[in-house]
């Protein structure tokens, strides 16, 4: 597994912003996730090569952060906030709707690879809870019906 030359170029631009190359490890992992879809062991080796640190250092860092996928997520990754403010306004119902509609437990992916589901902690949109992210997009003021419809729409895409 290797980065394309233009991605390595992009990385070098980012690395030049820091006095120490290791500091560009989080950006490098973001690039790897963008390019390869998730952070596999091979992707970690490629990141280590590019950044110039050991694969163990890459593993140590990648595994600390929840947003780096260690396995391939679904095409639509549903991240439902389950923290206090969203809880007060019905996040349990949202979780239940997703779990029943897609037959998923936290951390699972549908057989067709279309959806994955992960309850997450406070997304900093608490006044519009319950809320979730679908890939990098926020969906707020969720209702069970609205989430059901959203999933139906995404299924058709």
């Amino acid at each position: 597994m290797q980065f394309k030359p233009e991605v390595i170029n992009e990385f070098e631009g980012i690395a030049s912003r820091y006095p120490v190359r290791r500091a560009a490890l989080l950006p490098a992992l973001w690039l790897a996730q963008r390019e390869f879809g998730f952070i596999s062991v091979d992707a970690m080796k490629a990141v280590a090569d590019m950044v110039g640190c050991s694969p163990a250092q890459v593993l140590e860092t990648a595994s600390f952060y929840t947003m780096y996928h260690k396995e391939k997520p679904g095409k639509y990754h549903l991240q439902v906030c389950q923290t206090i403010a969203c809880l007060l306004n019905g996040s349990e119902e949202i979780k239940k709707t997703i779990e029943q509609k897609l037959g998923l437990k936290p951390g699972q992916v549908t057989a067709d690879g279309k959806f994955s589901y992960q309850p997450v902690e406070c997304l900093a949109a608490c006044h519009n809870g319950p809320c979730m992210r679908v890939n990098d997009e926020y969906h707020e003021n969720l209702t069970p019906e609205g989430v059901g419809k959203l999933i139906d729409d995404l299924k058709k895409k």
Binding site: P27, T61, T83, I84, V120
Partner: protein, 426 residues
């Protein structure tokens, strides 16, 4: 209640408020003239005199923090902007960056000039994808127009600003966890001292400030410390963007001077409690001790009133709960959060947060007695003051305040304790 012009949110609602064009047309970057006319030490004095306190949660006086930076080490000095916004219930930095990213950049220029830094990193939580696009767009515009880069507006002052994307870890909001993360490592907080102002990012002097703290600075530089200190109360000067979530009819955020009574905030701005009478309020993010409805009666939105009520101002974002809320379920939510987010370095925190969560599960499952409640309080006492950072205390405080103030909710789940077992068994 004073009415004052908005400082932080005045562009919110304007079309394209985030663009340089709108920013400049509405007085943006106008503090720089005053800024560059002063010596850095004078800027620090000005910010000190304004009384501005850090808005990230700890409320540390901003100017005083800046004055701790040693200017004689020969090393570069860094500014790290804390845009990790992860404290449950807190959501206003989000909108500061979406609606007025240039205001933050203007604040960053002021801060960097004051502490003699030429490099700032904005550490933004990984989930804020749109906010990162906004910031990068603003940085590009500012650089092209000579507000960033070399010789800013002919002042001779150079500054580069970069966005650094986090990747999902609450603990990276803790200032030294943030620095570790910026260095490409797991975000595990560092032992202090040394304090980051002396030994921070890459071993160099570093100031860490919250988004709203920095966004408050341009107004102070443009209008003077005295004008700022005249707003709010003696101890809580200026304005803040206060937030409301949970059980109110109108959730949201509003900029106003410090000093509004909490009940007026809930009833006037929040249009009243939703779904029943008021039961409790967590005043400034989930780490702050919870308050009963009664305690809220004479509470004001100030640092001093929160302290007098044995809680904290925190982030100024309140979570409101109505009478039907089961405090046991809410505390379970928090014990889960903190045990999930503990970085695991310190035993009292790693074990304490996990134990509190397990005991809460036991209680919810109907398997606990009042002995477990006592145990939870005892564990909480052992989680404080013994750890590298205050995440551990940030769970201990809710545990204690929830159980002490809403004991009846907790006792409902308790089975009879051994001593209450009928005599014939013993």
């Amino acid at each position: 209640m004073q009415t004052v012009e908005p400082q932080l949110t005045k562009r919110f609602g304007l079309k394209d408020s985030y663009t340089l064009k709108v920013f400049l047309a509405t007085g943006g970057y106008s503090s720089l003239k005053n800024l560059f006319a002063k010596k850095p030490a004078e800027v620090i004095e000005e910010v000190k005199a304004s009384g501005l306190k850090g808005r990230g949660g700890a409320g540390f006086p901003c100017g005083m923090k800046w004055s701790f930076v040693p200017q004689n080490t020969g090393k570069p000095i860094y500014l790290a902007v804390n845009a990790d916004e992860g404290e449950p219930g807190t959501f206003t930095d989000n909108y500061m960056m979406m609606n007025d990213p240039h205001l933050l950049l203007e604040g960053i220029i002021c801060a960097c000039y004051a502490i003699n830094s030429h490099m700032a990193y904005i550490y933004v939580r990984g989930e804020f994808y749109a906010q990162i696009q906004r910031l990068n767009g603003a940085i590009d515009e500012a650089r092209k127009a000579g507000y960033l880069g070399k010789n800013i507006q002919g002042s001779g002052f150079d500054l580069e600003v970069y966005v650094h994307r986090g990747a999902g870890a609450y603990i990276c909001g803790e200032e030294t966890g943030l620095l570790e993360s910026l260095e490409g490592k797991p975000g595990k907080p560092r032992i202090k001292p040394p304090f980051p102002a002396v030994v921070g990012l890459f071993g160099c002097p570093t100031i860490i400030n919250n988004v709203k703290t920095l966004s408050s600075v341009p107004w102070i530089i443009a209008n003077g410390a005295a004008a700022y200190a005249a707003i709010g109360t003696k101890e809580s000067t200026g304005t803040h963007v206060f937030g409301l979530s949970g059980h109110v009819n109108q959730t949201g955020y509003w900029e106003m001077p410090f000093g509004l009574p909490m009940m007026e905030f809930i009833n006037h701005y929040g249009k009243g409690v939703k779904g029943g009478a008021l039961k409790a309020v967590i005043p400034g993010g989930s780490s702050c001790p919870i308050l009963t409805a009664k305690e809220c009666e004479d509470l004001t939105l100030t640092y001093e009133s929160m302290r007098d009520h044995k809680t904290m101002f925190g982030t100024g974002c309140a979570i409101v709960m109505n009478e039907h809320v089961d405090m046991v379920k809410v505390l379970k939510n928090l014990t889960h959060f903190y045990s999930h987010e503990s970085c695991g370095q310190c035993t009292p925190c790693r074990e304490g947060t996990a134990w509190e969560d397990r005991l809460m599960k036991k209680l919810l499952d109907g398997e606990a007695t009042t002995q477990e409640l006592s145990m939870m309080l005892e564990i909480a006492d052992n989680m404080e003051g013994k750890t590298i950072c205050v995440l551990s205390a940030a769970l201990a405080m809710p545990v204690r305040s929830f159980i002490q103030k809403f004991r009846a909710d907790f006792e409902k789940y308790c089975k009879p304790s051994i001593s209450a077992v009928p005599a014939e068994i013993s």
